[in-house]
């Protein structure tokens, strides 16, 4: 059998990433094995929980490599965990396909490290592009002070100039905060024309509700971190009209027929629903892509770590959940800005914004 390791933050503060990722990975392995495995070999997946704790991630990576002797690792879920295990896999020479979004992971390019999650930069570009079109030039940003938010904030600040956008107020909130009226009151006191909030559930839902509570009329933008039905459920009425960049997974059936990803997306959504009784989201998609990429690499070459790495690097036009991947020796991230679409929440559902 071919042993593949996985490191996901199944519990802890980033379990919203780790859980769907683990579920997806396990589902995929079952499916693959049902279909006869890879080149006739069964796939074995060994998942360890990192709890979004760098120390635990490193220990688990060590165990995967030294004890379980895996040929490749998918995950970890967060940028922090990924950065922590990079030295371990680089030294051991085991390919790692991270499911985290941080740019640092693949820039500069590291020999053994790939990733599937779309860079935040792409999501930011999508929003700014739209703002520019709508002639909105003064915005307020409200980001969560964890890995996701701080990397989003970095990109928002970094790219604003390029799009001629001015950040009037730059506020943050804690990952577990339950009330953001103070930050919003401050924003209300400024001259911002729109608010961009960067975070993952449940914070943005609180923000949406607080905006409504304060009677603010500014258009509200969110990140891809909340592109799941859960957000709409939590924010309730306050979610109406919010615009956010998202992977195509939430609007799979609204996509044009010729979209290369459509088949994979519909397939994934349906499958996930069947297995776990909830909607699949694009976080799970990262794990889907990672597994499929490794599967492709093994099929094209062999199941030794070095061969997997070499073949991964040669991946071309793989249409997955997150987008269409194209790795090269210079690019281990593999996606372009069309990995994201903009969607708007209407009538408790997603509408593709053209």
């Amino acid at each position: 059998p071919i042993k593949i390791g996985a490191l996901f933050s199944v519990s802890g503060p980033a379990s919203f990433l780790g859980e769907p990722e683990r579920n997806t990975a396990e589902m995929m392995v079952t499916e693959i094995n049902k279909a006869g495995g890879i080149k006739g070999q069964k796939l074995v997946l060994i998942v360890y929980d990192t709890q979004a704790d760098a120390t635990k991630a490193v220990q688990a990576a060590n165990k995967l490599i030294k004890d379980d002797k895996v040929v490749a690792i998918i995950g970890p879920s967060t940028t922090g965990d990924t950065m922590a295990v990079i030295p371990v896999v680089e030294k051991a020479g085991i390919p790692l396909v991270s499911c985290a979004a941080g740019i640092k992971i693949t820039e500069p390019t590291k020999k053994w490290v790939f990733k599937t999650a779309q860079n935040d930069a792409l999501a930011v570009a999508r929003i700014f592009d739209y703002l520019k079109k709508k002639k909105i030039s003064k915005i307020a940003i409200l980001t969560v002070s964890d890995g996701f938010g701080s990397s989003g904030r970095e990109q928002l600040v970094f790219q604003a100039g390029k799009f001629g956008i001015q950040i009037i107020s730059d506020e943050t909130y804690g990952p577990k905060d339950t009330d953001m009226t103070a930050q919003l009151t401050k924003i209300r006191g400024g001259a911002a024309q729109a608010i961009v909030c960067w975070g993952t559930n449940p914070g943005p839902a609180v923000v949406a509700r607080n905006v409504k509570q304060l009677g603010m009329k500014l258009p509200l933008f969110m990140s891809h971190g909340v592109s799941s039905m859960k957000f709409i459920e939590l924010a309730g009425d306050a979610a109406e009209g919010i615009i956010l960049p998202s992977g195509r997974v939430v609007v799979a059936n609204q996509l044009p027929k010729n979209d290369p990803q459509k088949k994979a997306l519909l397939n994934y959504v349906e499958n996930y629903k069947k297995h776990y009784n909830v909607e699949g989201d694009h976080f799970g998609g990262h794990a889907y892509d990672a597994i499929m990429l490794i599967k492709g690499a093994i099929e094209r070459g062999s199941d030794s770590p070095a061969a997997i790495r070499d073949q991964l690097e040669k991946t071309e036009k793989f249409a997955g959940i997150g987008g269409t991947f194209q790795y090269s020796p210079q690019d281990h991230a593999g996606l372009t800005s069309d990995a994201f679409v903009l969607v708007q929440i209407k009538n408790k559902g997603w509408t593709l914004l053209k």
Binding site: A52, A54, K63, D67, G80, I86
Partner: protein, 324 residues
């Protein structure tokens, strides 16, 4: 055998065990776990000086650990300092900080002390998180160099094991020495009755601050070593939860016992490894074990084990006596 001789013998045996353990673990990942046990032992011993001897609680010790790690990490990555040099600076800076905040903080008693140290921990955690330009913020600081002695680079588990454990053993030895000295006695006296200690001329205020400082310095050394073995650090490792975990290590191990702190650190570090197979149930079992261990060994593992050992020895002796 006198008490002192027994102490020396125990320490000798312990050292020996530590030194030969790697030979049984060639290439196993468990060596890596033992490295972390070493670091945690250092931390627990340091906290035990404060909590177990002086009776002063700290719910913010992870902050000193983190500060040590960050000072070391930043100095080596951004200013290219030698890791050893960075370690010394981290220790000194931490000591200075602890000394300065020690005076007002340790004037507080009981809950107020608990809350002040907790607040300190939270403040430091926020600083690690928010000063993105310096610390790299929530996504961490990577590329920290390994420690090096001339051409010997400590870049694998075996080397790190010896590096960390030799320092840990030194820290343990110092703490044992300290506990049998006038300072150790004065600290325990303060814990029992501060007024009486003061009447006998023990300067409780200064002594508490001193031990707080020593404890912070030990934590900083552990933090620095952690940074250089992991080569990556992020704030998540230095939060409130870890402060609590440290206190748990000390108490589960046994207040005021250096070997107890080792046991506590070892158990709490290894436990998650074994619980991994339980997947999502691990947290439940972990909580349950914590409760059960404390329920049945309220004096800590060390006194529990001593009792069990005495019981067995007693059994053997009585059996021997019957035979004789």
């Amino acid at each position: 055998m006198t008490k002192e001789k027994r102490e020396i013998l125990i320490f000798f045996i312990f050292t020996l065990a530590v030194l030969i353990t790697p030979f049984f673990l060639q290439g196993s990942y468990f060596l890596n776990v033992l490295v972390f046990i070493g670091i945690n032992t250092m931390l627990a011993v340091g906290l035990n000086l404060l909590l177990g001897y002086a009776g002063q609680i700290s719910l913010g010790h992870a902050a000193f650990f983190g500060l040590g790690a960050y000072i070391s990490g930043i100095l080596t990555t951004r200013f290219g300092l030698d890791p050893w040099f960075a370690l010394v600076i981290a220790a000194v800076a931490n000591g200075a900080l602890a000394f300065v905040i020690g005076f007002p903080i340790l004037k507080l008693k009981g809950h107020y002390l608990a809350m002040a140290t907790l607040g300190f921990g939270i403040i430091m955690f926020i600083i690690f998180n928010e000063t993105v330009a310096v610390t790299g913020g929530p996504s961490g600081l990577s590329g920290i160099p390994n420690i090096q002695i001339s051409s010997l680079i400590f870049d694998n588990d075996l080397r790190n094991y010896y590096l960390i454990w030799i320092i840990t053993l030194l820290v343990m030895l110092f703490s044992i020495n300290l506990s049998h000295s006038r300072i150790g006695r004065a600290l325990r006296a303060i814990a029992d009755s501060e007024v009486a200690a003061r009447v006998l001329g023990v300067n409780a205020r200064v002594l508490k601050v001193q031990i707080f400082t020593v404890s912070a310095v030990i934590s900083a050394i552990a933090g620095s070593l952690y940074a250089h073995t992991m080569t990556f650090i992020s704030p998540a490792s230095f939060g409130f939860n870890f402060s609590i975990e440290l206190v748990t290590m000390v108490i589960i191990g046994g207040l005021g016992s250096i070997y107890g702190s080792f046991l506590g650190a070892a158990i709490l570090t290894i436990l998650p490894e074994f619980l991994r197979v339980l997947r999502d149930f691990d947290i439940i079992v972990y909580g349950l074990l914590l409760i059960i261990m404390t329920m049945y060994m309220p004096g800590g593992l060390i006194s529990g084990l001593t009792r069990i050992a005495e019981f067995i020895v007693g059994k053997i002796k009585s059996r021997g006596a019957r035979h004789a």
